[in-house]
């Protein structure tokens, strides 16, 4: 790959990536599986959502395929922060690749406790806050309410010196308001977006395919929606935005970078095409070199206001 120092990605607070490609939370485990993905193509790994205590997750069926998409309701199965700190972080500390821990909780205290536990632990490069989780006290998701989202971000910001990425849910009327709130509250970067709420019914059995009923839609089907969200958010906040949603080709990744994303995350595509990360990075590199561009950010076609659909 050509001189990547020139094209480093800066996600704030000293988090510099040599590649604009990250792997999305829940699609790469904790970095120990998926041996066929070429890690040298990655700027960072984002882990599976991690909670304070271990979680067993939802009963099967947990996933279903839809037209160019995939529904999932995994239920945040994970070994808990303690296991991550003791069993995984030491290994990560020896990797050249920064590992960002995706954090999930049901209360501000839980998020804060996880960030506290992992801050300063060798091998932890930063956090991605999954704010698509239901707030048990308030009975609605942190991510759908600007005030809640801001409070949560500020609370975690207060307990960690590490880079803080906040991941937005797209299931809202005004994602820009949420983005502004978390940026104002001290997020170093924003990742957009998490999955869209969806459902599938098994007609012969006359019941929801997913045991949980609803699930989150990911994959190429949602790419146009995710791109629009990134386009809006990137125009509204002063911090870097990491685009995620349905990216499966060089051209998809370029769309997000042109829309104003500083980097992108590959998710569902990792399941079917482990070689995608390498192919996409090579394609992006060839594209910018052909254009003589020396910085990913210069690909953006922003600023430009998108009139809303009429």
């Amino acid at each position: 790959m050509a001189d990547s120092r020139e094209r480093r990605v800066d996600l704030g607070r000293g988090l510099h990536l040599h590649s604009p490609l990250l792997v999305a939370s829940g699609t790469f485990g904790y970095g120990f599986d998926a041996p066929l993905v070429d890690r040298r193509a990655l700027g960072a790994i984002v882990t599976k959502g991690t909670t304070l205590r271990p979680r067993q997750g939802n009963p099967p069926t947990r996933i279903a395929e839809t037209a160019s998409g995939m529904l999932n309701a995994i239920g945040l199965q994970n070994p808990g922060v303690e296991h991550v700190a003791r069993a995984f972080a030491p290994a990560w500390a020896a990797w050249p690749l920064p590992v960002i821990v995706n954090v999930a909780g049901e209360s501000i205290d839980e998020y804060r406790a996880i960030a506290r536990r992992l801050s300063g632990v060798a091998g932890i490069a930063g956090f991605e806050l999954n704010i698509s989780c239901p707030n048990v006290a308030r009975g609605l998701q942190f991510g759908v309410d600007p005030r809640l989202a801001g409070e949560l971000t500020a609370a975690v910001r207060a307990v960690t010196p590490l880079p803080l990425m906040v991941k937005l849910t797209p299931n809202v009327t005004d994602i820009v308001a949420i983005a502004r709130a978390v940026a104002d509250a001290g997020a170093d970067s924003i990742s957009a977006i998490n999955t869209y709420l969806g459902m599938a019914i098994d007609v012969p059995r006359g019941k929801a395919v997913l045991e949980r009923g609803a699930g989150g839609l990911s994959g190429p089907a949602i790419k146009p929606l995710a791109l629009h969200a990134v386009w809006q958010v990137a125009a509204a906040v002063p911090i870097p935005v990491v685009g995620v949603g349905g990216i499966s080709s060089v051209s998809d990744a370029l769309e997000f970078l042109m829309a104003g994303a500083a980097a992108v995350q590959l998710g569902t595509i990792n399941y079917s095409r482990p070689q995608a990360a390498r192919e996409i990075l090579d394609g992006l590199t060839a594209f910018v070199e052909a254009r003589g561009v020396d910085d990913w950010r210069s690909l953006t076609i922003r600023p430009a206001r998108v009139p809303s659909h009429a």
Binding site: D33, A34, P35, P60, Q77, E211, G219, Y271, S272
Partner: protein, 267 residues
């Protein structure tokens, strides 16, 4: 896992081994060298709207010829696409993946229990057992005789058949054949619909066959096949879940919570 590769393989032969099924023979030296009976591959399907690979057990393995075979039926868009593939076409394969059947040392007889397309997982296993001079009793069940995998594909096994319509062997299900099978001091290998597996477990409990000596090849929808999506779980005895793709697909029956299993399927 570490030997898994992701590569395009040429279809050298396409045939219909039994009614309603298709067999694809692929040129895949690396896969043929690495694959073990009971392991599976993730096949990329180029079907409109499909984005996930489809998991298929390796039906048989020929390291000398560098070929592997898959046997499947058409149940949806992915298998329909695979069935439309022609000789000379290429298919993108990821694998071999997962835990195959464990063949303990010793000379204990083996009893194989196959229902419907579950039989697809067995030719490779039978060859391996016969090669180890293990006596193999093979119980195969199908709707009707034309849907049975021909005996020649299970050479060396003592084949016992059951069909729903009685057109071959016993009229009834493969479970009816258990009573007369030498289960008690055998290693048992099973693959088929969940209800068949549950019936086998019940029978084993009645006959006091230790579940640890029964291995089942589980089939659940899969996202990745490599342990990252957590989408393929099988309820674990004692709580929590097993990943069908990496803990399995071949699992000792005593590791599975069969009560939850039933709920997950029929609940």
């Amino acid at each position: 896992m570490s030997v898994a590769t992701c590569a395009a393989a040429i279809v050298v032969r396409r045939s219909v081994p039994m009614a309603g099924a298709v067999e694809l023979v692929l040129e895949h030296p690396a896969g043929a060298a690495a694959a073990q009976p009971g392991q599976f591959f993730q096949l990329a399907v180029n079907a409109p709207r499909a984005i996930l690979r489809r998991p298929y057990s390796v039906a048989w393995i020929d390291p000398d010829e560098g070929q592997i075979g898959f046997i499947f039926n058409v149940v949806g868009i992915g298998s329909a696409w695979l069935a439309s593939v022609r000789e000379g076409d290429a298919i993108d394969l990821l694998g071999p993946l997962g835990q195959g059947f464990a063949i303990q040392a010793g000379s204990r007889p083996a009893v194989c229990v196959a229902g419907g397309l579950g039989v697809a997982a067995f030719p490779a296993l039978v060859s391996a057992l016969i090669a180890r001079h293990r006596p193999v009793v093979f119980l195969q069940g199908a709707r009707t005789s034309s849907q049975l995998l021909p005996a020649a594909r299970l050479e060396g096994a003592n084949l016992r058949l059951a069909t729903d319509d009685g057109s071959a062997g016993h009229r009834g299900t493969v479970l009816d054949l258990l009573a007369a099978a030498p289960l008690v001091d055998a290693d048992v290998f099973a693959c088929g619909p969940i209800p068949m597996l549950c019936g086998l477990i019940d029978a084993a409990r009645r006959l006091e066959v230790p579940l640890a000596r029964i291995q089942v090849a589980m089939e659940t929808p899969m996202g990745c096949g490599t342990g990252t999506c957590l989408g393929c779980v099988t309820p674990r005895r004692g709580g929590g879940y097993l990943l069908t793709c990496t803990d399995g697909p071949c699992l000792p029956a005593d590791r599975i919570d069969w009560t939850l299993m039933v709920e997950a399927v029929h609940g």
